[in-house]
Assembly symmetry: D5
Homo-oligomer: 151 residues x 10
Amino acid sequence: MTRERITAEIVNARLAKGLSWRQLADAVDRPLTWTIAALLGQHPIPAEQGAVLAELLGLDESVVPVLAAVPVRGGLPTAVPTDPTVYRFYEVLQVYGGAIKEAIHEEFGDGIMSAINFSLDVARKPHPDGDRVVVTLDGKFLPYAWTSADD
Amino acid sequence: MTRERITAEIVNARLAKGLSWRQLADAVDRPLTWTIAALLGQHPIPAEQGAVLAELLGLDESVVPVLAAVPVRGGLPTAVPTDPTVYRFYEVLQVYGGAIKEAIHEEFGDGIMSAINFSLDVARKPHPDGDRVVVTLDGKFLPYAWTSADD
Amino acid sequence: MTRERITAEIVNARLAKGLSWRQLADAVDRPLTWTIAALLGQHPIPAEQGAVLAELLGLDESVVPVLAAVPVRGGLPTAVPTDPTVYRFYEVLQVYGGAIKEAIHEEFGDGIMSAINFSLDVARKPHPDGDRVVVTLDGKFLPYAWTSADD
Amino acid sequence: MTRERITAEIVNARLAKGLSWRQLADAVDRPLTWTIAALLGQHPIPAEQGAVLAELLGLDESVVPVLAAVPVRGGLPTAVPTDPTVYRFYEVLQVYGGAIKEAIHEEFGDGIMSAINFSLDVARKPHPDGDRVVVTLDGKFLPYAWTSADD
Amino acid sequence: MTRERITAEIVNARLAKGLSWRQLADAVDRPLTWTIAALLGQHPIPAEQGAVLAELLGLDESVVPVLAAVPVRGGLPTAVPTDPTVYRFYEVLQVYGGAIKEAIHEEFGDGIMSAINFSLDVARKPHPDGDRVVVTLDGKFLPYAWTSADD
Amino acid sequence: MTRERITAEIVNARLAKGLSWRQLADAVDRPLTWTIAALLGQHPIPAEQGAVLAELLGLDESVVPVLAAVPVRGGLPTAVPTDPTVYRFYEVLQVYGGAIKEAIHEEFGDGIMSAINFSLDVARKPHPDGDRVVVTLDGKFLPYAWTSADD
Amino acid sequence: MTRERITAEIVNARLAKGLSWRQLADAVDRPLTWTIAALLGQHPIPAEQGAVLAELLGLDESVVPVLAAVPVRGGLPTAVPTDPTVYRFYEVLQVYGGAIKEAIHEEFGDGIMSAINFSLDVARKPHPDGDRVVVTLDGKFLPYAWTSADD
Amino acid sequence: MTRERITAEIVNARLAKGLSWRQLADAVDRPLTWTIAALLGQHPIPAEQGAVLAELLGLDESVVPVLAAVPVRGGLPTAVPTDPTVYRFYEVLQVYGGAIKEAIHEEFGDGIMSAINFSLDVARKPHPDGDRVVVTLDGKFLPYAWTSADD
Amino acid sequence: MTRERITAEIVNARLAKGLSWRQLADAVDRPLTWTIAALLGQHPIPAEQGAVLAELLGLDESVVPVLAAVPVRGGLPTAVPTDPTVYRFYEVLQVYGGAIKEAIHEEFGDGIMSAINFSLDVARKPHPDGDRVVVTLDGKFLPYAWTSADD
Amino acid sequence: MTRERITAEIVNARLAKGLSWRQLADAVDRPLTWTIAALLGQHPIPAEQGAVLAELLGLDESVVPVLAAVPVRGGLPTAVPTDPTVYRFYEVLQVYGGAIKEAIHEEFGDGIMSAINFSLDVARKPHPDGDRVVVTLDGKFLPYAWTSADD
C-alpha cells in the first residue's frame, strides 16, 4: 500500500473512530501540528509511534515501515489551493510575501527562514471582537554562505 | 503613472537614498510590515502618509492620490514563487497547509483565519543554535455562517 | 470511503431515486443552495442531517461521520470552468470583476465581501422578454484591519 | 492609443482629478457598475458619452472612437484572480458553482443564465452584525435549444 | 455509474455492436450531431430516447436517469486539443477568432453568437479538387443588453 | 516596425478614420473575413493590396513589405479566450468537438477538415425569434495517407 | 475496454512475448513507424490487421473493433515531453521551429507541411564519428488557399 | 541592445531590403537552415560572419559581439506553438513521438538522437500528387552511458 | 503490469523487507544512484540484474522483461517539484542556471553538458560546521556541431 | 533603474567591452560562478565590489546601491527551461531527482541539501573520450528538526 493510500485510510479511520487529532498526538507524545502533518503524509513517523497510531486507527501493521520512510512531500492538490481555509495563507503570501522578504533582509541580511529547522504552532488567542487564529512560523535564519566541503 | 510604476520607483528611490524600511515606517508611524507591504503596492496609503513618504523618497506629489487608492493586490510574479526567501513560505503551505487546516477546524470548528482582519509580525528570536525568524500570522477566526441581508 | 467517492454516490443515488434537491433540502430543513453545495462535497453536514440524507439516498451509515467532517473545498475540475452554465459566472468575473471591486471600494472603502459569512440565493424572476435567473450573493463586508491578538 | 492604454489613463486621471465612479456614471446617466466596467475597458462607450467622459477626465478627444468600438473583453490579469476582493467571487464559484448549476437546472431545466442579457448590482444592506455587500446577478434564462436559421 | 463511465461504455458498445452514429440518431429521431454530442456526455438525453439507446447499446436500464440529467459539460481532455481532427477547429479560432468577432460586431453590433440557442451541421460538399467538410455553426445573435428582473 | 505593432496601428487607424472592415475589403477586392484576418496579422497581404490599405489607413509605406511577409500566426492572447464573443466558439469545441470529430470520421473516414485549404463565412440569417449568426467553416477533407516523396 | 487500456496491454504483451516492433510490422505488412504509432493508439488498425496483431499479442478478439475505430490522438503525457529521447525533438522545435517555418515559406510560399498526408522514417546512417539517427518527415505541401464548397 | 531586439531588427531589415534567407546564407557561406536559425537568435554568429550580415542588413556594428555570444535559446512564444506551420511539427510529436522513441530504441538501444551534434535540412521533393516538404533531422546517436571524469 | 505499477511495488517491497538501496545496488554490482534511478523507473534494468532484484524484492518474474525495456522517463509528478529535498535542486537551477550556462560557454564554447553520457554521485563530505551533501554531475561536453550523415 | 534593467545592461556591456566572466570575477576577487550569478541578478553585490564592476563595465554609479540590495531571485524565463544547456540540468532532475532524494535520505536521514549554505563549481575534467563538464553542488545537510524560538 502506497503512502497516499495509507493517508486516505488514516483520514477515514480517524473520522470513523471519532478520534481527535489531539488524542492521536497525545498517544505518541508529539506536538499537535507535527502529528497532523505526519499523518497527512508529510513526515516520516518513527516505527514505534507508527505502531501505536496504526493500532489506534485500526490499520494493518504492514503500514508501519511505509509510515517510517521519508515521504515525497507536498500536500496541495493544485498549485494554487482552492480550499478557502488553506487559500487564505496563499493570499497572505500574495499580499505580504514581498514585505516578509524585505523585513527578513533588513533585520538579518541576505538569507532565508528555514522551513526544515522549523516548527509551527496554531493557537487560539482571545480578543474582544472575536477570538483569533494565531499561526506562528518559527524557523532558523540561514544566511547565504558560499561554503565548500573539504576535499 | 500607474501604481506598478510608482512601486518600481519607490524600490529604487529607497535604495538610492539609503533609507531603511524602518525609517519609512517610523516616518508615518505605522507598523513595519504594513508599511513595506503598502509601499510594495499591496495597500492603499492614506494621503497624509503618502505625502510624507513621497517627499522622503523624492517622488512627485502626483503619486499621492494613486497611492491612496485601493490597489489591485497580488505581489507574486509567478503562481509558485521562485525567490528562495519567499518560496520557503510556499513550501510551508505544501508541507503544513493540511495540518493548519485541520488544527483550525479542531480548535474552532468550520471556518477560516481571516487574511483581512489580520496582522503580521516578523521578529528575531534568539536561540543558542542560531537566531530564528519568527513570523506571526494573526487573523480573526471567521466561522462559516449562512447569514442574509435584510431585504 | 473518501468524501469524493461519497459525493459521486450521492449524485447517482439522487438520480436513481428520482429525488429533487428541494426534497432533500426540505428533509433536513436547510436552504436549497446550502444543501446542494453540502451534498456536492463543499460543506460539512451535521450528523443528524447526514443520517437523514444517507437514509433517503440509501447510503451506508458509515458515510455520516465523513459527511460531518469539514471537507477540502473546491468544486471546479479545472481552474477555468468548461461547463457553460458555470462558465457564465466566470465570464461575469472576467467582464465585471474590476467593476465589482471598484464599486465595493467606493461604497465601503478598502475591504472585501466575505465568502464565509455569506449566503447565496438562486431565484426565478418573471420578465416579459423571458424569465430571468437572479443569483444574489450576500456577504458581510470585511474592512481591511490591522488587528492583533492579545499576547 | 490602444484601448488598454486608454484604460490605464482613465484609472489615473480619475484619481488625479478626484472624481468618483458615481460622478462619472451620473455624468453620462448610466448605471454605476455598467459605467465602471465600460471605463475599465469591458464595454464600448457610445461616442456621445465617450466625449463627455473624455472631457471630464481630461483625455484627448481622439480616444472617443476607440472607446466606442467593441473591446476585446476580459479583465483578469491571471486566470485565477490574486486580488482578495476579486478572489472571493472566484471562491464562490469553487464552493457554490456546482450548487448554482444544479439549482438553475432544477428550477428552469437545461440552460444557462445569460451573461450578455444581463445586469449587475452592488448594494449595501444594513445588518445588525455589520453591513453586507449584496451583489445581484440578473441574467435571462436561455434554454438549450437546437434551432437553425432559415436557408 | 457516473456519466463519464456511461460515456466510456457507450463508446465501446457502439463499436462492439457495429452501430453507426446515424443508426443511433435515427433510432431516436434526433439530428446526427446532437445525438453524438449527447451520447458523448454533452447533453441530457430524455428518458424515452435514453431507454431506446440503452437497449440498442445493451446498457443496463439504470443508466437512463443518469443520461436524462443535465451533465457537467466540457469534452476536451486538455485546454488545447491534441487530436488533429479537433485541433484544426482550435487553429481556426487562433487564426480567425478575431476576424469572426469583428465581422459579427460590424454586422450585428455588440453581442455574441449564442452557443445555447444553437445548432451545428457537418456536411460533405462536392468539389472538383476534392470533397469538402462544411461545418455550419448557427446561433442566435444575442446583443449585450443591460436588463433587470422585476423586483 | 514589427507586424504586431503594425496590427495595433491598423486597429487604431481604422477607428480614427471611421472605416468599416467592409470598405477595406472592398478596396482590395478580397472576401471580408479574409481581409479582417489579414489586417489583424493572420495572413500575408500581397504588396499591391498592402499599398492600397496602407494609404487608406494612413500608414507609412515601409509597412508594405512587412505586411507581405508570412506572419507568425495565432491571435488569441490566452490559450482559453476570455472575450465572450470569441469564447462561445471555444465552448462549441468543448461541447461539440467530439461530435464534429465523429461525424467527420463516419462520413469521410479517418482524416481532418483542412484549416489551410479553407474559407470562412459569417452571415446574418433571418429568424422569427431573432436573427442568427451563421458561421460556415469550409475546408477540404484530407484523409490520413502514408505517402512518401520520391527520393 | 477503452483504447487506452488496450494500448497499455499491447505494451506489456509485446514485452512479455519478446516480440519486436519489426516482427509486428512484418506480420501485417505495414511500415515500421506506422505500425508502432498505431499500436501505441495513434492510428486506427483495419480489422484484418487488428485480428492478426491481437492474436500475436494474445489479446481478446473483442479489441479488434476498438482498434479499427479512429482514436482520439495525442500521445504525450505532458505538453512539454519529459522523456529525454522524445524531448530532443521538442528542443529541435524550440531551436529550429522558426527556421523550418521560414525555409518552407521561402521555398514554397505561404502554407504548411501536412502532418496528415505524411510519412515518417527513422533510419540508422553510418558516420565515422558514430552512427546517426536520421528522422525524415515527409509531408505534402499545402498552400493557404481560400476555397469554398459548391452550394 | 539585447539579442531579442537585434533579432526583431533583423526580421524587419531583411523584409525592408528585400533580401532572401538564401542570399544571407550565401553571403556567409553557411547552410540555409543554420543561417536562418542563427539570425532568429538561436545560434551564436562568429564575428566575421556577423559583420558581413550586419552590413548587409544595415545594422549598427555594435551588434556584432552580441551576435557572437551564445544566446539563451528557445524560440517558441508559447509552450504549444500556435502558428500552423510550426504546429504541424508539434502534432508530429504528439502522434509519432512514441513511435520515434520505440524505433530508436529497437534499432540503437537505449539512448537519444542528439539535438546538438545535429543538422537539419528542408527540401522540396517532387510528387505527382503535389510537391512535398521533406524535413530531415540528422543527429548523432548517443547511448546512455554511466561514465565519470578522471579525478 | 505497467512499469509505473512495478515501480510502486518496488517502493513498497523495499520498505516491507527492510532492504537498503545500497544492498540492492550491491546485489547487482551497479553504482548506487544508477540503481535507485533504475528501480524508480528511470532506466532499463538488464534481465540478469532484473531477475536478481525481482527475487530479492519478492516480485513476480513477469516483471523482468518490463524492467528490461527502455522506460518513458521523467520522474517529477509536477513540472516544479513540491518535495523540499528535490525542490532545492530546482532552486539551484533558478538561482545558478544562468551562471552554469555562462561558465560552460566561457570554458568550453557553445555546447552542453550531456545528461546521457553522464554519471552522478551523492556523497557525504565532513565539515566542521556540519557535514555536507556533495552532488557531482559529470557529463561529457558536447559542442554544437552541424554534422550530417552520409547519404 | 530596476535590477532587471541593470542585468540587461551588464550582459550587453560585458560583450561590448570584450570582458570575460573570469576577468570580472578576478577584479573583485570572488569565485567565478558566484560572480556570474550575482551579475545575472541572483545575488546582492556589496557596494565595494559593485563599484569596481560598474566602473569596469562602464555603468553609472547609481547602480551600485541597487546591486547591493538583495534581489528577487529566480532566473528562468519559463518554469521548464527552453535553453538546451540549461535544460539538461532540468532533465537530470526529471531522471535522477528521485534517486538523489533517496540517496540523501539513506546516507543522512530525513532532510535536505541546503541551497543557501551552498557553493557550486563548474570544472573541465579530461577524459580520453572527450573532456567532461563536472558540476559540483555542495550544500550543508539540514536535518528536519522541530525546533522553536525562546519566547
